[in-house]
């Protein structure tokens, strides 16, 4: 499944040895054997089912096994709206996961609260837990979810922990879609 990173070099094709760095090998195996914890709360769950079932099938990317104990899982899928009342549960689930762990915000509600801009809803799971990948869409199409999954895998391979974003489709009317550079702005703010 998949190809070895460039950091893996094959030497002496007849001797059958390969040399690599231990970290690279570990990350390579982690990225293709993700154990998922689906925290499914809302309608985005239908798209999650599509992603996980044979038509789209995220097993092709080595992210097949769902684990319904957070202690055994690497990747937390937050799929759907998180209400204020659920926030302690999500926080606890995250705290129970073993490091290294990754979090995907699946859909607009998990990313920023969606259109629930009121007393009920957490305005984005990044307010309560660190988030690695944001997938836009209401709900996102399975293709967008795969973009997010591949981003997670890139991050696992490279060790980068800064949040990354699946690009939304271009707005056909106004072309308004723009990824915010929140990182840079945060630095400016602290100056």
């Amino acid at each position: 499944m998949g190809e070895l990173n460039r950091s893996v070099t094959l030497e002496g094709s007849e001797s059958g040895f390969a040399t690599t760095k231990l970290d690279a090998l570990l990350n390579w195996s982690r990225k293709y054997s993700l154990f998922n914890y689906p925290f499914v709360t809302a309608c985005c769950g239908m798209e999650f089912m599509a992603v996980s079932s044979p038509r789209y099938d995220f097993a092709r990317f080595g992210a097949e096994a769902p684990r319904f104990s957070p202690r055994q899982s690497d990747l937390l899928w937050v799929v759907g709206t998180i209400s204020q009342r659920q926030a302690p549960v999500l926080r606890r689930i995250y705290e129970q996961m073993m490091a290294p762990r990754w979090v995907m915000a699946f859909g607009t509600c998990a990313s920023c609260g969606g259109f629930y801009d009121n007393y009920t809803t957490v305005p984005g799971i990044d307010k309560i837990i660190p988030t690695d990948v944001y997938v836009p869409g209401c709900p996102p199409r399975p293709e967008a979810v795969f973009d997010g999954l591949l981003l997670i895998q890139d991050k696992i391979a490279s060790g980068v922990r800064e949040p990354s974003v699946v690009k939304p489709r271009a707005d056909p009317v106004a072309g308004l879609v723009q990824i915010r550079d929140t990182k840079v702005k945060a630095k400016e703010k602290t100056k």
Binding site: Q84, K127, P163, P172, T182
Partner: protein, 195 residues
């Protein structure tokens, strides 16, 4: 036929029936809060009325009116295939004094509806067996569907991470921006200069 319930209410409670109207075959009676439970019992027990199905109970906030809140009850009669709406008005301008008798002794189904109305609007149902919040958490202060509750005010149960801790901006706009091809995107949060 459809006026029957209103006529009987007026005959029974007299001046305690503040106003009545009928529209599209649906009857509404507004009664004084003092006869709220008596009127409900009358609707249920009178053999000619026989409203045996509790349908809905809610409240409406009219911030400029006194009394400020309208408690609205819908009941239905299976036998007569009639429905009737009973209202009462409680509460002063500040939202105090929103007490009305509980209807749980009349229709058991009113239990959770009264809890919800208490949770969202702060109507206190006297005689309710278990008047707690039903949708929100006990730590919540205030009643969010009152018109004087700030629309975007949240009361988090988990303390939010700080921006220093996260290393990124944490606001209500997702990192993919306010527009993702959806009409309800949060465009108004976008800075005007296009950054």
């Amino acid at each position: 036929m459809s006026q029957l319930a209103l006529d009987k209410l007026k005959a029974k409670f007299g001046a305690a029936v503040v106003e009545t109207h009928s529209q599209f075959g649906d009857d509404t009676a507004v009664v004084e809060p003092g006869v709220w439970r008596a009127a409900a019992e009358f609707l249920r027990d009178d053999p000619a009325l026989d409203f045996n199905l509790f349908v809905d109970l809610c409240a409406v906030d009219f911030p400029k009116r006194v009394p400020r809140f309208e408690v609205v009850l819908h009941v239905y009669s299976f036998a007569r295939r009639q429905r009737v709406r009973l209202k009462t008005r409680v509460g002063d301008e500040e939202g105090e004094g929103c007490e009305v008798d509980s209807l749980v002794p009349v229709w058991t189904g009113a239990n959770w509806f009264e809890r919800e109305t208490f949770d969202m609007m702060g109507i206190v149902f006297q005689g309710h067996p278990d008047l707690r919040r039903i949708l929100l958490y006990p730590e919540f202060v205030g009643h969010p569907l009152r018109k004087d509750y700030p629309a975007q005010k949240t009361q988090p149960l988990v303390a939010y991470r700080t921006e220093e801790e996260a290393g990124t901006i944490l606001d209500k706009l997702a990192p993919f921006g306010g527009d993702e091809g959806m009409a309800f995107g949060r465009k108004f949060y976008l800075p005007k200069d296009g950054n």
